[in-house]
Amino acid sequence: MGRYLRLFVAFARIGLATEMAFRVNFLMKMLVEVLWLGILLVFYDVLFRNMGGGSVAGWDRWAYLFFVGCHYALSGVVETFFLENCTNLAELVRSGELDQYLLKPIDEQFLITTKQIDWSTFPNILQGIGVMIVSFAMMQGEVTLIQSVAFVVLFVCGVAMAYSFLLVLCSCSVWMVRNQSLVEMWWLFTTLMRYPRELFVGYYVSPVGMFFTYIVPVLLIVNVPAATMVRGLEPGFATLAVITAVVLLVFSRWVFRLALQSYRSASS
């Protein structure tokens, strides 16, 4: 365990050093992220102003903003630590560079999915946390110790679920022919975790919501931690989220190993 931690810290240091070699590029990337958050905030500001103080699917203005902050922080974690690594997998397979990874005396899933840390999206996590703090203060909500501990645990479960989905998607890309648009596909898929689960109402739509809650549980990722802070701990959903996170982690590892088995080291 200590060895993995030391390696992870080393990866983080190398990643930061690489980014610092192209400082302007790094700053520009961060600027885009700030800009994007700004646009989102203006969007929701315009939306709620035009609604005259109503609420969206039971989430009022500040509760909704808390949800947005939670999503921003969570996807920030995924983008910083895992996104680039996972989307690179297909390229490693195609170029045959995966050989060097498999030869190292360390767990290959750990090595492949954490090697490059993208520091330029790290501020997203802080921005998301900032949005959460401000909106929570505006809600004038009171928080219990259990609630905040549960939030942290469920947030980590959310990250684990998102990571698993990402790993499955990228492992599948090993079998597909062309996968240049993997980042885009990931982005489109994660559209589902951007919005409250309560939006999925109606005759045709609620089965879709059910499907993405219980079968392919993307909707749990942000909804459960955010709802825990806004409305209080819902033990049923919290348990579901924890179990789902564990199941998905095991499942994604299995799919990943299956994908590696079909690797034939084609280049050399």
Partner: protein
């Protein structure tokens, strides 16, 4: 003039070159149908969530039934029509492609051949767009059919040619705008960041998130400035024309302004290209 003479005349020769480029690109695009279809399917998820979000917004609204003059049906129609606008006007990879050609020196492939870069890229884009529109027509037709009850107001069949014209204007404005950004690569070593920033801003400024009219009340200055900028022609304007929300003298004025912007952008990109070539030194092997 007989057709035989026309076929050998220099202008036809020049045109045939680009027609062939167009044909070859079309074949290349259609080779990856599977990828295309999966991408198209996933592309419907944001459509679904957007509709659900706005339905919930109208549901939870306290006062009145409209937002900035849009009923719920009009809002959903608008957001669906934005996809049609962007089908024509989005130019993925155009600016970064031009900048890459400049940086790594492969721009000289245009210089040593009797081929104009901007015309080549335009021909390539037309093919790309034709293939894209052809392959996504069916899923979009299905989507519009499912959402048909939202299209309670539209400008009517008589306006269809005008709508098509606004889409073509959107395509051309989008093309020359992106081309100009890419051509900045003659002066700047790295334009990727500029592309990111403009793409992000464009998403908001062209009215892809919501109709620009929503800004009028709370952000009047931004709203006024946006009326005079070209961004709205790549998304907002065609959708509003289809819905019949822009008509009469206003429509004529908007069409004239769009044409003027097209003139400015096309002349501007030509000029940038010419000026850039004068200081270009073809690095790379």
């Amino acid at each position: 003039m007989s057709s035989a003479v026309a076929a050998t005349s220099p202008s036809w020769q020049a045109l045939r070159k680009y027609v062939n480029i167009c044909r070859a690109s079309l074949v290349e695009r259609l080779a990856y149908r599977g990828d295309f279809l999966l991408g198209t399917f996933l592309r419907f998820l944001p459509v679904l969530t957007t509709i659900l979000l706005w339905s919930a917004v109208y549901e939870g609204k306290r006062d009145g039934k409209t937002i900035a003059g849009f009923t719920k049906e009009e809002m959903i129609s608008y957001l669906l029509l934005i996809h049609i606008s962007r089908m024509f006007s989005s130019m993925p990879g155009l600016a970064s492609g031009i900048a890459r050609d400049i940086r790594d020196g492969s721009l000289k492939k245009y210089l040593v051949q009797p081929l104009d870069m901007l015309c080549y890229l335009l021909a390539f884009r037309i093919a790309h767009k034709t293939a894209y529109i052809a392959t996504s027509a069916l899923p979009y037709a299905l989507l519009f059919f499912l959402a048909r009850e939202n299209f309670v107001t539209c400008a009517g069949w008589a306006m269809l040619p005008v709508y098509l014209l606004t889409l073509i204007l959107g395509f051309l404005i989008g093309f020359f705008f992106e081309a100009m950004i890419g051509l900045m690569g003659f002066w700047l070593l790295e334009v990727t960041s500029a592309i990111w920033i403009l793409t992000t801003l464009n998403y908001f400024l062209s009215g892809q998130m919501f109709p620009l009219d929503l800004l009028a009340l709370d952000y009047p200055t931004i709203h006024m400035i946006l009326q005079w900028l070209p961004f709205k022609y790549v998304a907002y304007f065609p959708a509003m024309v289809f819905l019949g929300k822009i008509s009469g003298p206003e429509l004529v004025r908007e069409l004239l302004l769009a044409t003027a912007w097209l003139g400015v952008l096309s002349v501007g990109s030509r000029w940038l290209y010419a000026a850039g070539l004068r200081r270009y030194s073809a690095y790379g092997g």
